[in-house]
């Protein structure tokens, strides 16, 4: 048949595993945005001693590729330590699914990103790995690569939507966005930026500044 998806993808699309939310997750991440047409929310329960992923849940707003990848990565990550789970790439997920259409790579990358982001969120909350790493302008720019520009479907750094980044004493982070504050995506982008920076252990406040008309 001419269907672009193989049977396994369709099976996961129809009956995704580990779907849901968590009451009191140890970590969570939300990648993408409804404006881009794809969004994944992912929740983790992690054993504090062994760092093993005890439970994992996801929700998806997106195409079949997104839903199927979200499902397969939750299965792949469950039972692994966060260190091991970090290594899961979208190629692994795609391989496990028996292949995905090229055009849909972006959608599956997003699902994999949500897992990595959730792990990072866990690490930030627990000061693991990042403990030594201070929040600098470089680190902020790194984090901004996970904020989507809904107009382009790519991140705000790549699409040059960020004018300036400042990190001041007492760890106030200021991000200047090249958009007017009444732009239709302004509040969505602001929210996304705050969400990516605020959990950092040494950040006190995040200010998002828009350009003037």
């Amino acid at each position: 048949m001419g269907m672009p998806y193989n049977e396994k993808v369709i099976e996961y699309f129809q009956n995704p595993k580990n779907v849901g939310e968590m009451e009191d997750p140890d970590a969570y991440a939300k990648e993408g945005s409804p404006a881009c047409g794809d969004m994944v929310a992912l929740y983790l329960k992690v054993d504090e001693e062994t760092h093993e992923i005890k439970d994992i849940k996801f929700k998806s707003y997106g195409c079949a590729s997104n839903i199927a990848t979200g499902s397969i990565i939750t299965e792949m990550a469950k039972g692994k330590t966060i260190e091991e789970a970090k290594e899961i790439g979208w190629e692994d997920a795609a391989e496990e699914l028996g292949g995905l259409p090229d055009l849909k790579t972006h959608c599956s990358v997003l699902a994999v990103d949500s897992l990595r982001e959730a792990i990072r969120n866990y690490e930030e909350r627990h000061g693991i790995g990042e403990e030594e790493r201070e929040t600098t302008e470089e680190v902020v720019e790194e984090r901004l690569k996970h904020v989507m520009n809904p107009m382009k479907g790519q991140d705000v750094m790549k699409t040059e939507l960020i004018n300036d980044v400042k990190v001041e004493e007492g760890k106030t982070v200021t991000v200047e966005v090249d958009l007017e504050s009444d732009h239709q995506f302004a509040s969505a982008i602001e929210e996304d930026i705050i969400e990516k920076l605020e959990p950092r252990w040494d950040v006190e406040e995040v200010k998002v500044v828009f350009s003037e008309g």
Binding site: Y5, I10, F13, Q14, P16, V19, E21, Y28, K30, P34, A35, C36, G37, D38, M39, V40, A41, K59, S60, Y61, G62, C63, A64, N66, I67, L103, K104, C107, P150, G153, Q184, E191
Partner: protein
Amino acid sequence: MQMHEERIYLDNSASTRVDERVVEAMKPYMLDTYAVATSDFAYTMGIEAKEALKEAREKIAEKLNADSEELIFTSGATESSNLALKGVMEKSNGDHIVISKIEDFPVLKSAQKLEKKGYEVTYLDVDEEGFVDMEQLKDSIKEDTALVSVQHANQEIGTVQNIEEISKICEEEGVLYHTDATHTFGRLPLDVEKLPIDLITLASHTIHGPKGIGALYIRDGTELQKQMDGGFQENNLRAGVENIPGAVGFAKAVELIDEEENERLKQMRDSLIEGIMSEIPHTVLNGPEEKRTPQNANITFQYVEGESITLHLDMRGIAVSTGSACFSKSLEASHVILGIGGDHERAHGSLRFTFGRFNDQEEVDKVIEETSEVIEKLREISPLGEGEEV
């Protein structure tokens, strides 16, 4: 061949199943009278072919209340619109053209191509139901405006423009008016005696006729630059061996359409809209309630993405289309939904249901039921919902 019995096809604005009576009408012009249309002084088969072409042209022109000499056959609506826009602009002294921003691709891309070549294009806004504003249209027409092209009805949301008023304005301002009637010809009245329209794009495959044939109505006296060079066919405006079986099939398709059928489509449309909007919460109708084509329903389902919906429906034997970026080859969200002021989310979650001759009320009921199930299933796994952010 029996597949269509089990499937519910609601993408009739993309293309339709050819009516068997159309196929039968075409057959003799592939198997018996297969000659090209010759002059009256050539051999019999060629003369017969010429007669068939003439008759087809007359039947279609009659539906428009036009003279048959004002109609030329093309390979389809895309070519007709290309010829109308490029043909007029290349021949005219004016270098400004006005179109609406929700035109279908043949008009939109032709205008953009002209823009690249140095012509000026004004893209008219539309309101939230897809209607062009008459004041903005009047204001946009300048001394060097040669052509206005505003579609009769929209391909995605069914909005039927006020072409009475638009054509009148163009006549008063002394500019040519082209309309793309791909989604209205046969479905809604269109009379060139009553309305001063200069050029009309006509399609066959949206009314159960064959693909690969269309027509362009060109009011007598309207000058066009030929785009397809070669022989002298079609009043020396479009070269190429005439598609006689296509023309005959197109004419048959036009003949088979009647008011009763259009009324039946309208009833199915209203029943579907009413059923879905009352049974499924968080839905938005795209396009107007009243002034829409009889065959078109377009609804956004909030918090879910269109490609997922269409895939689920396809697995249940139902074919519909969506304005979602993920559905398209280009990964671009519908310019029509964005044009009516909708956000990307509204485009991503939109479904277009378009009816045709071979649909019935039983199918409508089934589609409402299946769509309701699919939306519920997808909303269960969606991180989005009413008034909540994750």
